[in-house]
C-alpha cells in the first residue's frame, strides 16, 4: 500500500516539477502585462505538487489496484485506439472503424465473426449518417481508390 502511494506521489511530483521548469522558460516582458505568461502555469503546477504531497496526509484513502488480466485487455484496447488513429487516413473510415469495432468486440467477449459483422454494419451506418446525413467529411481511404 505504501509503495503505491510512493509511486503516485513520485509521478505527481515529477510531473509538477517538469511542468514548472518548462513554465519558467515562458519569458517575455511587456510593461502592460506585469504577470507574464509563466505565472499561471506555475500556479497550476503548484496545485499538482500539493496533490502529490497530500497523498501522504492521514485519511487520504487508498488507490484501487488494477486486475492484471483486465489491465492487459486495457493495454490491448488502448493499443488498438492508437492503431485506429494511424490507420484511419490510409484505410478510410469504414474499414478502420469496422476493424476497430471487431477488435473491441472480441476484447469484450463477443465472438469474432459476430463482432466483425456488427462492426461492418455499425461503420456503414455511421458513415452514411455523418457523410450523407450531416455533411461531415470522413476519410474514404482505400474505398476511394478501389471503387
Amino acid at each position: 500500500m505504501r509503495r503505491r502511494r510512493l509511486w503516485g506521489s513520485a509521478a505527481f511530483g515529477t510531473a509538477a516539477a517538469v511542468l514548472a521548469l518548462e513554465a519558467a522558460t515562458f519569458r517575455v516582458s511587456f510593461p502592460t502585462d506585469p504577470l507574464g505568461p509563466a505565472a499561471f502555469p506555475i500556479a497550476g503546477a503548484a496545485l499538482l505538487a500539493f496533490g502529490a504531497a497530500s497523498l501522504w496526509l492521514p485519511g487520504a484513502g487508498e488507490a484501487r489496484g488494477v486486475d492484471p488480466a483486465g489491465g492487459l485487455r486495457i493495454v490491448a484496447a488502448a493499443g488498438s485506439f492508437i492503431l485506429y488513429a494511424v490507420l484511419l487516413a490510409p484505410l478510410g473510415f469504414v474499414v478502420a472503424t469496422a476493424l476497430e469495432f471487431a477488435i473491441l468486440g472480441i476484447l469484450f467477449g463477443g465472438r469474432p465473426l459476430a463482432s466483425a459483422l456488427a462492426g461492418t454494419v455499425f461503420a456503414l451506418f455511421l458513415f452514411g449518417l455523418f457523410v450523407y446525413g450531416l455533411g461531415l467529411p470522413l476519410p474514404l481511404g482505400i474505398l476511394e481508390r478501389g471503387g
Binding site: V28, D67, R73, A85, G110
Partner: protein, 498 residues
C-alpha cells in the same frame, strides 16, 4: 418581472417554430439513447454530440434547442439505466438508484420510470419560474463585476466544487491544477508565447475540451468496464406498465415541490449542483416521512425527490452560467464550451444585448422538458431494447461514437491520440479516486481566469492589492476560503461531539 415574462413568451414563439420542435424532438431522442449507455452521463452525451452540433451549422437558437433536448434527454436516459440496471452515470443519480432500483426489484420499474419523468418535469417547470425572477436581478448586479471580482468568483467556483466533489479536497485541488495546466497549452493570447506545445504545431491552438472530456469520461469508462471480467452484461429486469397511479402521484406532489425549491437554490450555488441537491432533498423527505416511509426499500417519494431536485438544480445552475458566464460544475462547463462554440458569450451583457438569445435559451430548456415527458413515456420500451444489447456491441459502439465525435472537432487523427492518452489518464484518476469534474472546469475556466487576473494586474500596474480592493471581491475571497475550510472543520467538530 412582467417584462421578463413577456420576453419569455417571445422566446417560446421562437422555440415553437416547426423546425425547432423537430430539433427538440430529435435532441431528446438522441440524448436519451446516448445518456442511457452504461456509465455515460449528460457530460459525456453533450461532449459526444457537440462536434456534430457544430458541424451541422444550425442558427444559434436552433442549435440551442437541439442542445437543450440532448441535455434533458441524456439526464433521463441516465435515469433509465440507473433505475433498471442500477448503473448510475453521475453522482446525483446515485441517490435515484436507492429507491428507483429498489422499485424495479419489486417489479415496479415502469412506475419508477414514469415517476422519474414526471418529477423531472415538475422540477424543471417550478425552477424555471425562479430563473425568470432571479436571472435579471443577478444580471443587473453582475455588471458591477470587474476583473478582480471575476477572478475571485472563479476561485470560489473551484473551491466550492473541490469541497463537494468527493472526500479528499486536496485531490480535487490537484485535479483543478491539472485542468488549469491543460488550459494553458497552446499559444498564450497575451504574449504569443507558445506554452507546453513541445514543438508540436498541432498543439498551438490548444487542446479542445471535447477531446479532453470524451477521453477522460467516456474512453476511461470503456477501459473500466473492460477491466472487469465475468461482468456478464446486464439482465434488464421486467418493468411493467410505464404509468403512475393518481394516488401515488398526489402523495408525492409536495415532495416534488419541496425538492424543486431545494434543488433550485442549491443549483444556483457554484460547485454544489445536482449531487448535493439530490442528497439534501432525499434526506429532507426521509425525515418528513418519518416512520410512515419505506425509504431505501422502494418508496416512490425517495425517487421523486432526487429527480425533481436534480432537474431543478440544472435550471438553477444556468443562473451563474448565463448571468456571470461562470459555470460551477463539469456539466455546465461543457455547456459553456458549447455556447462559446456557437458564438454566444454568456455574461451580464447577454440578457441586455441579446434578450432574444437569453429568453430563447430559457424557452428551449423548458421545451426540452416538455418533450421529455411527451416522448419518453411512450417510447421507454424502445430505449430499454437498446439497453438489452450485449456488452460486446454496446461498448464498441460507445467507443466508435467517441472516435467520430473527436475526429469531427478538427478533422484530425492527432486528436484521436490525445483522446486515447486522456482515456488512460482518466482511468488512472478514477482508480486513484481523483475527481474528474474539476479538470473540465479548470480547462474551460482557465483561460477566463488567467485573462481576468492579468487584466486586473495590468490595470493596477502589478499591484496585488487590487485583487482585494472592493468589498465584493473580499466577500468572494471569504466565501472561497470558507468553502474549502468549513467541511473538514465541520467533520472534526461532529466527530468530537459524538
Amino acid at each position: 418581472m412582467t417584462e421578463s415574462f413577456g420576453s419569455l413568451l417571445a422566446g417560446f414563439g421562437v422555440a415553437f417554430r416547426p423546425v425547432n420542435v423537430g430539433l427538440a424532438f430529435g435532441g431528446v431522442l438522441v440524448g436519451t439513447t446516448v445518456g442511457m449507455l452504461p456509465g455515460i452521463g449528460p457530460i459525456n452525451a453533450i461532449a459526444m454530440l457537440l462536434p456534430l452540433l457544430f458541424a451541422v451549422g444550425l442558427p444559434p437558437e436552433s442549435a440551442l434547442i437541439l442542445l437543450a433536448g440532448i441535455y434533458y434527454g441524456s439526464q433521463y436516459g441516465n435515469a433509465i439505466s440507473t433505475i433498471l440496471l442500477n448503473v448510475p452515470g453521475t453522482a446525483s443519480a446515485v441517490v435515484t438508484a436507492i429507491d428507483g432500483h429498489a422499485m424495479t426489484k419489486e417489479g415496479r420499474g415502469g412506475e419508477a420510470l414514469a415517476m422519474s419523468a414526471i418529477a423531472s418535469f415538475a422540477g424543471g417547470t417550478l425552477s424555471i419560474i425562479g430563473l425568470v425572477i432571479l436571472a435579471p436581478l443577478l444580471s443587473a448586479w453582475a455588471i458591477r463585476f470587474g476583473p478582480a471580482e471575476y477572478f475571485a468568483l472563479m476561485v470560489f467556483a473551484f473551491s466550492a466544487l473541490s469541497s463537494v466533489s468527493g472526500r479528499s479536497v486536496s485531490r480535487a485541488l490537484a485535479s483543478t491544477g491539472f485542468g488549469l495546466l491543460l488550459a494553458t497549452v497552446g499559444m498564450d493570447p497575451n504574449s504569443a508565447v507558445p506554452r507546453y506545445t513541445f514543438g508540436q504545431l498541432r498543439l498551438f491552438d490548444g487542446i479542445d475540451f471535447v477531446v479532453v472530456t470524451i477521453g477522460l469520461f467516456a474512453v476511461s469508462e470503456v477501459f473500466l468496464v473492460l477491466e472487469k471480467t465475468g461482468w456478464a452484461g446486464h439482465a434488464a429486469a421486467g418493468y411493467g406498465r410505464v404509468a403512475v397511479r393518481l394516488r401515488e402521484l398526489s402523495g408525492a406532489a409536495w415532495t416534488m415541490v419541496r425538492a424543486s425549491v431545494i434543488g433550485f437554490f442549491v443549483g444556483v450555488l457554484p460547485g454544489a449542483g445536482g449531487t448535493i441537491a439530490s442528497f439534501l432533498s432525499y434526506s429532507v423527505e426521509e425525515k418528513a416521512a418519518g416512520s410512515g416511509g419505506r425509504f431505501g426499500r422502494g418508496d416512490i417519494r425517495g425517487l421523486a425527490a432526487p429527480e425533481a431536485a436534480n432537474n431543478a438544480s440544472t435550471t438553477g445552475a444556468m443562473i451563474p452560467l448565463l448571468t456571470l458566464g461562470v459555470p460551477g460544475s463539469g456539466t455546465t462547463a461543457v455547456l459553456l464550451g458549447a455556447l462559446l462554440g456557437l458564438g454566444l458569450v454568456p455574461g451580464p451583457l447577454l440578457i441586455e444585448q441579446n434578450p432574444e438569445v437569453f429568453w430563447g435559451l430559457v424557452a428551449s430548456m423548458y421545451l426540452g422538458n416538455v418533450f421529455l415527458l411527451l416522448l419518453n413515456l411512450p417510447l421507454v420500451g424502445l430505449f430499454v431494447k437498446v439497453l438489452r444489447l450485449p456488452r460486446w456491441i454496446l461498448m464498441p459502439g460507445v467507443a466508435g461514437l467517441s472516435f467520430v465525435a473527436v475526429y469531427a472537432v478538427n478533422q484530425s487523427a492527432f486528436d484521436l491520440f490525445l483522446m486515447t492518452g486522456f482515456g488512460v489518464v482518466g482511468f488512472g484518476m478514477k482508480k486513484a479516486r481523483f475527481p474528474l469534474a474539476p479538470v473540465i472546469l479548470g480547462l474551460v475556466l482557465g483561460p477566463l481566469m488567467e485573462r481576468n487576473l492579468r487584466r486586473a494586474l495590468a490595470l493596477s500596474g502589478g499591484e496585488w492589492g487590487v485583487m482585494f480592493s472592493s468589498a465584493l471581491a473580499v466577500f468572494l475571497w471569504l466565501l472561497a476560503a470558507l468553502a474549502i475550510l468549513l467541511p473538514p472543520v465541520w467533520t472534526r467538530i461532529r466527530r468530537r461531539a459524538g
